[in-house]
């Protein structure tokens, strides 16, 4: 039995409008209410569902009804599965005729829609943290503070991460061979691989080693001048500017070395950094903001750097005793191995996690797996700690639920049509597809799947169907 609940909030003559919609829709169980998303709305849904034994609900109104939490609450109030609650969103100021047409279309689809069962997935409370640097240590410390048994290990020991949220199987390399352990959630906090100074930049010292290198030289061998080069291949962040300023100021104060910092842009978007930049200029450190690619070559004095000064618009050539390059400005070897082992996508720099605004600085394409720190591309100390704490909270938000209710509306694979071509496994952004245990067909994990339908579209054998969007339902709705 379908119940149609229509929200009339935001309308002047709500009752008259509802009456017109009701007359045009002409279904048996039609209820109007102003503010379905409020507590009174839920009460109405509970009462009417019980009284009329409603099995499916259609909630029609503004975009507020789309909220996942609201749909869950409505389903709970009506005593049905979340999949049996269907939102219909009216455009603002829609006429009764438009509203009625939308409701009729939706009810046609809803009549055909199977009611999905739900499954409860228990969430294990063990947490795996991959990476023992600042990000990993902070994340592990904070997760452990919430009382979760936490394992911290080096990222490269991860061979594979299968399973889904609440019950991941991590295959970890150890001294006595690999072992598989189960975890509820995983935080990846590898220190990442900054770009290694490639052969094109031979003779350059990594920025982090410059101080130690100069310190190790005998007094008479100490260079009189040094250059620090940033942004060589990719734009660097404020973290690199901060590090370059720190190193330059220290060397200037200790050895009176002439220092030149070459960069494309001075990145000072952090409190206090602009003042440290002023300080560096006052201390006599030269800044060259270059355009294009600098040409670096060996010279009798050490190293010569030729580039175009972007401010003056002139070509300049600098000879220095020693030059350092910031590895964060070089293309880094991709985190492909870690990404593949953990099932996490890579961004345009080859770092973990695609660039998507809805994946805030810790979330990933896999529910229950979080990425923080340099492997995600964040090198600023303060930000790394902040993200690690946010990830710890996200782990707690997830695991403190103890169990997850998962609606079984995930794609179904037709075993007769599936030819095991693995297209769905490659194209699923959420690593939800896998090969069925008996290796006769592909299969989808309802916990990891987000019902995007990509596998349905990509399957060359047309073997996959998303039950809520089965052909007959779509055709029936379109035919209205």
């Amino acid at each position: 039995m379908i119940g149609v609940f229509v929200c009339s909030c935001g309308r002047r003559s709500a009752d008259a409008w509802l009456e017109k919609v009701g007359a045009a829709v002409a279904v048996k169980h039609f209820f109007g209410h102003a503010g379905l998303c409020g507590p009174d709305g839920l009460r109405l849904i509970r009462e009417k569902s019980k009284k009329h034994k409603l099995g499916r609900l259609l909630l029609a109104g503004c975009a507020a009804l789309q909220s996942e939490a609201l749909i869950k609450n409505a389903a709970k109030a009506a005593g049905v599965a979340s999949g049996a609650v269907f939102p219909v969103l009216f455009p603002r100021r829609s006429s009764p005729a438009v509203a009625a047409r939308m409701i009729r279309q939706a009810t046609t689809g809803l009549q055909l829609l199977p009611v999905f069962e739900s499954r409860r997935v228990a969430l294990r409370n063990e947490v795996l943290v991959l990476g023992g640097g600042p990000a990993g240590t902070e994340a592990a410390r904070q997760v452990a503070a919430f009382g979760y048994p936490t394992t911290i290990t080096e990222p490269h020991v991860l061979e594979s991460l299968t399973g889904g949220v609440g019950n991941f199987s991590a295959r970890l390399r150890g001294e006595g061979g690999a072992a598989t352990r189960a975890f509820g959630a995983v935080v990846i906090a590898s220190d990442g691989t900054a770009g290694a100074a490639s052969s094109a930049f031979r003779g350059l010292v990594p920025l982090a080693d410059l101080e130690g290198h100069i310190e190790g030289l005998a007094r008479r061998d100490k260079p009189r001048s040094a250059a620090l080069i940033l942004d060589l291949e990719i734009d660097e962040t404020k973290a690199s500017t901060a590090e370059a300023l720190r190193v330059a100021l220290a060397l200037r104060a200790r050895y009176r070395i002439e220092l030149t910092i070459l960069l494309r842009h001075v990145r000072v978007s952090s409190l206090g950094l602009e003042k440290r930049y002023d300080e560096a200029r006052e201390a006599g450190i030269t800044f060259v903001k270059y355009d294009g690619a600098p040409r670096i070559a060996a010279s009798p004095e050490g190293i010569s750097i030729a580039c175009t000064d972007g401010v003056a618009g002139e070509d300049v050539e600098i000879s220095v005793g020693i030059a350092a390059v910031s590895p964060h400005g070089l293309h880094a070897p991709a985190e492909r191995a870690l990404g593949e082992a953990a099932g996490i996508g890579l961004d345009g720099y080859g770092r973990l996690q695609e660039n998507n605004i809805h994946l805030l600085p810790d979330q990933t394409n896999r529910l229950g797996v979080f990425v923080v720190g340099p492997c995600r591309g964040e090198f600023d100390g303060e930000t790394i700690l902040r993200d690690a704490r946010a990830a710890a909270l996200a782990v707690h938000q997830l695991l403190s639920q103890k169990e997850l209710e998962v609606e079984l509306s995930h794609p179904v694979v037709d075993g007769d049509k599936c030819v095991l071509c693995l297209t769905c496994i490659r194209s699923c952004p959420f690593k939800a597809m896998r090969i069925f245990a008996e290796e006769t067909r592909a299969d989808c994990s309802p916990e990891a799947c987000r019902r995007c339908g990509i596998c349905v579209g990509e399957c060359p054998a047309k073997a996959i169907e998303l039950p809520a969007y089965a052909d007959r339902i779509v055709l029936a709705r379109a035919g209205e």
């Binding site: 929200c7 909030c9 935001g10 309308r11 002047r12 709500a14 102003a34 503010g35 998303c37 409020g38 507590p39 503004c62 507020a64 909220s67 939490a69 603002r92 904070q142 503070a145 919430f146 009382g147 990719i234 734009d235 660097e236 962040t237 404020k238 842009h265 001075v266 990145r267 000072v268 978007s269 952090s270 409190l271 206090g272 602009e274 003042k275 002023d278 903001k289 401010v311 003056a312 961004d347 345009g348 720099y349 660039n355 998507n356 605004i357 809805h358 805030l360 600085p361 810790d362 995600r376 591309g377 303060e382 993200d387 704490r389 946010a390 710890a392 909270l393 707690h396 938000q397 403190s400």
Partner: protein
């Protein structure tokens, strides 16, 4: 269940409140202004055919969800009188303005707005987020007259009127300070012509214009075919004692430049800058994409903007060698920076937070970890960074409770 207090109903405050409420705790948000949502509600989506990851939609979603959350309550027009953090709980006393609109009960019927004799109730709506705001400058109750028209008209008990002020006395296990920021007022830089010349707008005004229309309006009142963005207005400026970077202006200017170019490929867009701050996760391809669209980048900040002939604006640019050049544009957008909010220093004093010379709180946490700050009151930062900092702060408040 614990009780937490959030000072500031912007995106940071709401994001933190949501995290705390999801953990089963009660949260009260105090907001000094009559409106909720903060600055983020006036920003536009800057997507072209693809998302530019500005985060405005993410902020709207967070605020909309928090508004409907039964464990989050909000007091607008609130003034904090006294704070006592010495005891086991932090107690905060003050007064909140009336009428007070409860958004979790509001059904968006608009009855209050129609009933208000002074027409002082405004509605804001975008996506799943709808808010109502009482303008205290016109509200009869706020002006000392007896009026309860809105509360009587509301059929859902969502509005409280009565006395113009209602005292509150709250006790909290932890406090999150998220007072946010003000934008720099470019009138302080008179040579840039803001407020004097038609066609000179702030970045914020340009966002509002772009959310309503395709392009910007030029000095001659017609659609601007040539737009200049001037960066670092009120940022990195030692003369104004503002030698800090506001962190977000490059991001919004470049995204707006991208949006303008995508909508009007024939328009000329120029960005005058000192240094472009890196903001996107994968920034270099993003910047190169903007350059490929034809946005021109010019190093150097124009020193003045004046009316030029033919209804254009003339920009005077001095290079480091002292050479002067001029450029003409139809419209000029000033990328204004951030300052701490007006009331931030008072909040800092009340809660005992240290502030730096510019008034930002920095990454400070008061001793017992019961009072933490997040968002743009800490340092200038983007929407996404503010949400992340709100979540980190919420974690800190919860961890404090867990170990206590």
């Amino acid at each position: 269940m614990k009780r937490f207090l959030v000072v500031g109903a912007g995106v940071t405050g709401f994001a933190a409140a949501l995290e705390l409420a999801r953990q089963g705790h009660g949260v009260t948000i105090l907001e000094s202004s009559p409106a909720i949502g903060g600055k983020v509600l006036s920003y536009c989506c800057k997507a072209t055919d693809s998302c530019s990851r500005c985060g405005v939609c993410v902020a709207h979603d967070a605020i909309a969800e928090a508004l409907r959350h039964p464990r989050i309550s909000i007091l607008t027009g609130a003034r904090i009188g006294a704070v006592d953090a010495a005891g086991p709980a932090v107690t905060v006393r003050g007064v909140a303005a009336r009428p007070q609109i409860c958004h979790s009960l509001c059904v968006d019927c608009g009855a209050c707005a129609s009933a208000c004799p002074a027409r002082s109730i405004q509605r804001y709506s975008r996506g799943g987020l709808t808010t109502y705001t009482v303008d205290p400058s016109t509200c009869l109750l706020q002006k000392g007259k007896s009026c309860a028209a809105c509360a009587e008209a509301c059929g859902f008990g969502a509005i409280e009127a009565g006395a113009p002020e209602q005292p509150f006395d709250l006790s909290a296990d932890g406090v999150l300070i998220a007072t946010g920021h003000e934008t720099f007022d470019p009138v302080c830089k008179p040579r840039l012509g803001y407020g004097r010349l038609l066609g000179v707008t702030t970045g914020l005004e340009a966002e509002r214009a772009l959310s309503r229309q395709a392009g910007l309006t030029g000095a001659n009142g017609e659609a601007a075919g040539s737009v200049a963005f001037i960066q670092c207005v009120g940022s990195r400026d030692p003369v104004l004692c503002r030698n800090f970077c506001s962190a977000v202006c490059c991001a919004y200017a470049l995204r707006m430049a991208r949006l303008l170019k995508a909508r009007q490929p024939a328009a000329e867009v120029t960005v005058y800058y000192i240094d472009i701050q890196n903001f996107d996760k994968v920034f270099t391809p993003f910047r190169e994409g903007i350059e490929a669209l034809g946005v021109r980048f010019v190093r150097g900040i124009p020193s003045s903007v004046s009316r030029a002939g033919s209804g254009k604006l003339g920009l005077l640019i001095e290079d480091p060698n002292g050479n002067r050049t001029t450029a003409q544009h139809d419209a000029v957008v000033l990328s204004v920076g951030m300052s701490p909010a007006d009331g931030a220093s008072r909040v800092a004093e009340l809660f005992g937070l240290p502030a730096d010379e510019f008034g930002f709180f920095g990454h400070c946490i008061s001793k017992p970890g019961r009072i933490v700050a997040a968002g743009t009151c800490v340092e200038p930062q983007s929407i996404v960074q503010s949400i992340a900092s709100a979540r980190a702060a919420a974690q800190e408040l919860l961890a404090q409770g867990a170990s206590a």
